[in-house]
């Protein structure tokens, strides 16, 4: 789409953005269903079953329900902050897909700094999150928002470091360059470095998205719903969708960085399909981790990040640099 000269670039961008947003929303809705069915099967039950055949219409039913709900605003809440927070939370989570190419040449904008754009924009959701917690005028929400700021900031660092390993191996931050660099060997298959980087990416990713075992900020049994506790209706839907968009975005990034993006057997126009499948595999891994572990406390979460994950990822970057130097020195 970036090559058509018949239409003005603005129109092309608008159309491609619209298509991506539309497809993305559909994918998001069904990703929630995938998570629920997968979690249910792991717990010896069936998950959504009644709405539509085997629950396939459940996301639509949920969407309609949330649209029809009343928007409750607490009396003492800070109205401007409260109402604006879901939107500010939602926008960065959708914006991360702007830099994601779904096939060579197919995407909204294949930036030269694609990975950097992704990581920078995805951490902007903290602003929306804290606004939600503060504006709710609720002690539970406030505690949760404070924990969230702590946690996301701490884990974005190892997340960035882990994502930098494929960038260093490919030599570029452009996602399509990283994809082409994996044509011989996927980065996850790199001996030791690839696997360790992937594991660090998953762990830091789970923590940066506030999913169990690091979901201390929405610890349901202590803080009910954390910073979302006062929201209802479409605002709540925005927050939910934003969270899932962030998760799926991280899954796509993981698939692009480690699993070879759109590489796959068959004709090249199946590329986006393979990309989506790989992203869903990463998502399934996130889900599997989520439904297997107990939550850990906030002081332990922070100490894992600063004392364990950050030094490990820094060492990993160092090792990657050494490996690259050795490889280029050996003339490979």
């Amino acid at each position: 789409m970036t090559g058509t000269s018949a239409m003005s670039p603005l129109l092309v961008a608008l159309i491609s953005g619209g298509v991506v947003l539309g497809a993305l929303t559909g994918l998001l809705a069904y990703v929630t269903l995938l998570e629920r069915k997968f979690a249910a099967r792991m717990q010896s039950r069936v998950g959504p079953y009644r709405v539509g055949p085997h629950g396939l219409l459940q996301p639509i039913a949920d969407g309609v329900k949330l649209l029809l709900k009343e928007h409750l605003v607490p009396d003492a809440a800070d109205k401007g902050v409260f109402n604006l927070a879901p939107v500010i939370f939602f926008i960065p989570c959708m914006l991360i897909f702007a830099s994601m190419p779904f096939a060579p040449g197919l995407g909204v904008a294949d930036l030269n700094i694609g990975v950097l754009f992704f990581l920078a924009v995805s951490s902007m959701e903290i602003v929306g999150l804290f606004m939600a917690g503060w504006g709710s005028n609720n002690k539970y929400a406030l505690i949760s928002a404070m924990r969230a700021v702590n946690q996301i900031i701490s884990y974005d660092l190892p997340f960035v470091m882990a994502a930098l390993v494929p960038v260093m191996l490919a030599g570029s931050m452009k996602l399509s360059d990283i994809a082409t660099a994996q044509q011989g060997l996927w980065f996850i298959a790199y001996p030791v470095i690839g696997q360790l980087a992937f594991i660090a990416f998953i762990v830091a990713g789970v923590a940066a998205e506030n999913r169990t075992p690091f979901d201390i900020l929405e610890a349901e049994s202590e803080l009910i719903a954390g910073f979302r506790v006062e929201y209802s209706g479409m605002k709540f839907a925005f927050i939910q969708l934003g969270e899932y968009a962030h998760v799926i975005g991280t899954s796509f990034l993981g698939a692009a960085l480690f699993l070879g993006a759109w590489a796959g057997p068959g004709p090249s126009w199946l590329g986006p399909l393979w990309f989506t499948i790989k992203a869903l595999l990463v998502f399934v891994l996130f889900t599997w981790v989520r439904w297997s572990f107990l939550r850990i406390k906030v002081d332990q979460i922070l100490s894992i990040s600063w004392k364990l994950l950050l030094p490990l990822t820094l060492l990993l970057l160092l090792a990657t640099a050494v490996v690259i130097v050795i490889r280029s020195g050996a003339g490979v």
């Binding site: 997968f38 249910a40 099967r41 792991m42 717990q43 010896s44 039950r45 069936v46 079953y49 599997w288 981790v289 439904w291 297997s292 572990f293 002081d299 332990q300 100490s303 894992i304 004392k307 364990l308």
Partner: protein, 191 residues
């Protein structure tokens, strides 16, 4: 980490990894097990023979007469006092003029069944009492008889329960009134 058993960095990392793998293995294992969900109400649930379900009044199969003689023993023993009976005297035997049972307050303890001398009141193998109007759960005699005809009666009747509890007389037979295994289809608990 604030783990009192600090075993050295790499040993701890290995322990952490193996714990993670073990936990994920169990959930992964359960992924492939058949779900235990029973799709009620399409698939009916199999109730065991002694199930304490809805209460019902019975009718003698041979004569077609009501079994209840209006003796009010069930009314006196009921702990939450949900049964109200009025006796109707007749020449050969007594009847119950009115018999009301407040099912919404019943605790399903089976004491009324236990004391009934004529096996008139029994419990059934059904629990279909969901309703949107509580007044439908104030059962009168007609409703109770209808429930008795509609659902399968449980094994426990007054005489059977009392025989099970009574110290044995000089007969050599063991406790004869066992009910068949519950997991199989209800084959009818006969004495």
């Amino acid at each position: 980490m604030s783990n009192p058993k600090s075993r050295g960095f790499f040993r701890e990392a290995v322990a952490l990894t193996s714990a993670v793998v073990r936990a994920m293995r169990i959930t992964g294992l359960n992924l492939f097990r058949k779900p235990v969900t029973v799709h009620y109400p399409e698939k009916p649930r199999v109730y065991p023979d002694r199930y304490r379900g809805l209460l019902a009044l019975t009718i003698d199969k041979e004569t077609g007469e009501e079994n209840c003689i209006g003796c009010r023993l069930c009314e006196f023993i009921c702990p939450p006092a949900v049964i109200k009976v009025e006796m109707l005297k007749a020449e050969k035997r007594n009847y119950a003029k009115t018999f009301t049972l407040e099912l919404y307050a019943c605790e399903f303890c089976e004491l009324c069944v236990q004391v009934c001398p004529t096996d008139a009141i029994v419990m059934t193998k059904s629990f279909d009492m969901a309703t949107s109007d509580r007044r439908t759960m104030l059962l009168d005699k007609d409703r109770l008889h209808a429930i008795g005809l509609q659902y399968e009666n449980s094994w426990g009747t007054g005489n059977r329960l009392r025989d099970m509890q009574a110290p044995p007389k000089k007969v050599a037979a063991p406790e004869a009134v066992e009910a068949p295994k519950a997991a199989s289809a209800p084959a009818g608990g006969e004495a």
